[in-house]
Symmetry: C3
């Protein structure tokens, strides 16, 4: 693999790269105005897909487009918010919601899930705040690369989640676009830089809106088991895989999965449109991301009509519950946790039907009430 | 009306504009150093008045001068504070006070008043913080304009107060200076971008210091009723309209008003100096801003010797109290609330005396103790 | 004294200055990337020492080198953190720890010590947050100077700690390097800009790591009395002056001192290496800084292996305790508190042994348990 590497600050104008008939590019914008002032946005393109990465927001992925269809959703938070304007501690630890609008947002890496004290955690990090800190820490050492051997383009960056007497973790993120396909790959490496083992939680909050989401869209997850997060989700357990139209006042429902492998070798979470001719597929290794959640928030479009596909190391319960259930990852000093996933846009009815059918044929155990070790209630 | 519009980023050097013998101008500074680093300041001038607007602080108005007299006060917070240095949640929700030094500061727009939980409000916004968020959110889409038909100059900008599962409001602000008079006009439009009705509170915290304020200055408000906010204010109810000298250790007093219309057609709040030959008048429509407060904080000059004239949609009590009293504005989805006011500097003894007399002739009901639906105690 | 003064913004390229054979310099960097984006760093050098000051972080001193040895320590917080990314209120008031990595960090100036409510303090500053606000407020009016009479170079800056109804303090900081010696001088002036007396606490958190710190290093403090902060420190009271090797999981120990004068005229706190041929000495006037702490945090290197030498106006207990014990400084309106200290690197075994012996010969009273007015428990 022969990589041409460009540091973010060298990227003063767009770079184009041609392999065969395929033209890829990397460009950069520094946003101005309002709460986006100073936010860096890096856009990677191949002929089928473009994605915009936000180094300033923990290497989150704002959105993009594939095959002409938008990737993302309409959050009430309209533009990327510079972390200096997000107060995670606000609103009893729910301040994270004032910065959340990404297509792909990491929740972690010291913890994810709801806010509140974790009696066994570090006092210097209590109370935990919703979904952790990583999405609101700017990345450092950001570089772009072009792989001359296969024409792929990508971006890498480091995010440090740390404090004296607390966690001391480095997250290294890589996004890579192949030369031509409507797909991108994510590779994350978390290193424990402390002298003692570190607990880690990582959830990929991948948020898909129209046109993938519409009345009649279907969700598929390759899983052994599915459970509702709470009584509200239990109300809809029979229809967890079905999506309704935008509905003002719809209260969110979350479903938890133990992920498992398809015959193709990976685990998958899919959202397909009504006609099953357009879908987003998230593929990953269930040994590394053995859990996951589906977030059904089919509220009004202006309130955020969206489905979250969320492969994870854990369920997004409070960390104290996940610890008790044995789902925390522990990383030894100096050791690393490597997670990978691919996000593809599928536009072939056959492929989509086959993937859904394969996932459904796993016939997961369906828990009809909350609890059972999946969630506290 | 034919407007020449200039976006903020195009304003790289001052723009001058002449109508008849009148020269107006618009200029821009980006502040550097300390907590002001990166704060944008836009100064609008006509021959009689200049005002400096802070897009970075929610389109607040820092201060200025009219007829050679300064508009503003001496807050212990000396320079404009970039919102990234203001922690609204700090000090049990009183952090707002570490950024407050404007001549005109909006309190709102989801709420104003003291901090604390609002059980009927959105959990993602609890606890409320003092005087809301709008003054510490940077504006977007900032533009300057020159109206070629009448020689007025102005500035517009948008501020978004939003978060997932919370409010989703857009405030559009316009300040306009006429071609010659020592006056400016404010026009605010609040739009509810959510799918459900939104509660709104807006108070204009207009803070006037010397030379308008001095020992013997007088306050006039066109009102039906006046009430003290609390027992401390009740102590001074007989003298609510009289201002004393700077007094170290003076504890603030606030008076609440139901505003009403003068024969001239608008409601007014006025602060005039001892000689009644210099005054600031705030004029507005009492149907839109039916309430208001006067903030008497005649502390030592170095502690902030100031009178606040505060027309509002509500009283600056906690939102839960205002809801119970039926004073919250509700905006339907997609609908707008438009508020307007004018701030004038008066230097004619006749005009000042007449305005004061007109307000006094309304003979408001005076409540001598706190409560009575005006405030909780 | 004839000073050539350069404002920070004029310092676009390094300035060099020669006195005799001695070459000194001043240079400036604006950091980019991650949480350091926008942090200003000013480096002062003489032939023996260099120090890097962070105006953006309250005029703290990041670190440097003297006689080829690094000044500083390896905090899990690796790079200087812009205050806009530090939430002091986070983690029940312990958020300060997410920005702490300096060689010299001021704790104050309204208070230092642990977080929590101070019932006699201003409600607008409650709850107090760990070690106060000053280290996370950017400085203003930053200038560099070269003293042409003696070849010293220095930097000055102002930091304002203020808010309506709260403290109204200005800290003016000066660092000065002599022309040749491996030493720097600090002179701080705190002014009370309010109309009423202000309580002030100031502690210099001077943090020394390898090579000054190693297994067998010794600490010396010129003092009348020493006491452990708490039972954990009491465990090690007999060995308070001895340093061990890096030890994963070592729980910090803090010792409190009433400082006293050496025959040389000043008070001193010293950390010397095992061979007693390399030391850092902090010298100050015990009348102005009558108290102090030693922070033993001989944790693993990657967790922050460090000794803090901390001369102070008070002990870093909660302010309410210090008030009750009569250790708060009070500054009258308009008056100033001036504190000075020198930090020297010593490389002469004789000098080091003599300084240690002089301090030890004062034979301080050793309190073997916590309490006794030194700390609450």
């Amino acid at each position: 693999m022969s990589r041409r590497v460009i540091s973010l600050h060298e990227l003063t104008e767009p770079v184009h790269w041609e392999v065969g008939n395929s033209l890829s590019s990397i460009s950069r914008t520094t946003l101005t105005g309002g709460v986006s002032e100073g936010v860096e946005l890096v856009t990677l393109k191949n002929p089928s897909i473009e994605i915009s990465v936000i180094p300033t927001r923990g290497m989150g992925l704002l959105g993009g487009a594939a095959l002409g269809y938008p990737l993302g959703w309409q959050s009430p938070v309209q533009r990327p918010v510079h972390p200096s304007f997000v107060d995670l501690s606000a609103s009893n630890g729910l301040g994270w919601l004032t910065g959340f609008n990404e297509f792909l947002c990491r929740c972690g890496i010291g913890w994810n899930g709801p806010p509140g004290d974790d009696d066994e955690g570090s006092p210097v990090e209590n109370p935990l705040t919703l979904h952790g800190r990583i999405a609101n820490i700017p990345a450092d050492n950001v570089s772009l690369f072009i792989d001359e051997s296969d024409g792929s383009v990508g971006i890498t960056g480091q995010v440090r989640e740390c404090g004296l007497f607390g966690t001391n973790l480095t997250l290294e993120v890589e996004y890579r676009l192949p030369a031509e396909e409507p797909r991108f790959h994510v590779r994350d490496v978390i290193t424990n830089d402390a002298s003692r083992p570190a607990e880690v939680e990582l959830l990929y909050h991948i948020n898909v809106g129209p046109p993938f989401l519409e009345d009649g869209s279907v969700i598929a997850v390759s899983a052994d088991a599915v459970a509702p997060r709470d009584p509200r989700a239990a109300e809809g357990i029979e229809d967890w895989s079905k999506c309704g139209p935008p509905e003002s006042g719809f209260a969110e429902q979350a479903y938890y999965f133990n992920t498992s492998r398809l015959p193709t070798g990976h685990a998958a979470m899919v959202l397909a449109n009504r006609n099953r001719d357009l879908a987003v597929e998230v593929a990953f290794d269930p040994d590394v991301l053995p859990h996951g959640a589906v977030w059904k928030n089919t509220a009004a479009v202006e309130d955020g009509y969206v489905i979250g596909l969320e492969p994870a190391t854990d369920f997004p319960n409070h960390r104290s519950f996940e610890r008790a259930e044995g789902r925390l990852k522990s990383i030894a000093p100096g050791e690393q946790l490597v997670t990978e996933l691919s996000v593809s846009v599928l536009a072939s009815t056959d492929t989509i039907q086959n993937t859904i059918a394969a996932a459904e044929s796993l016939e997961p155990v369906i828990h009809r009430s909350a609890g059972n070790g999946f969630s506290p209630s």
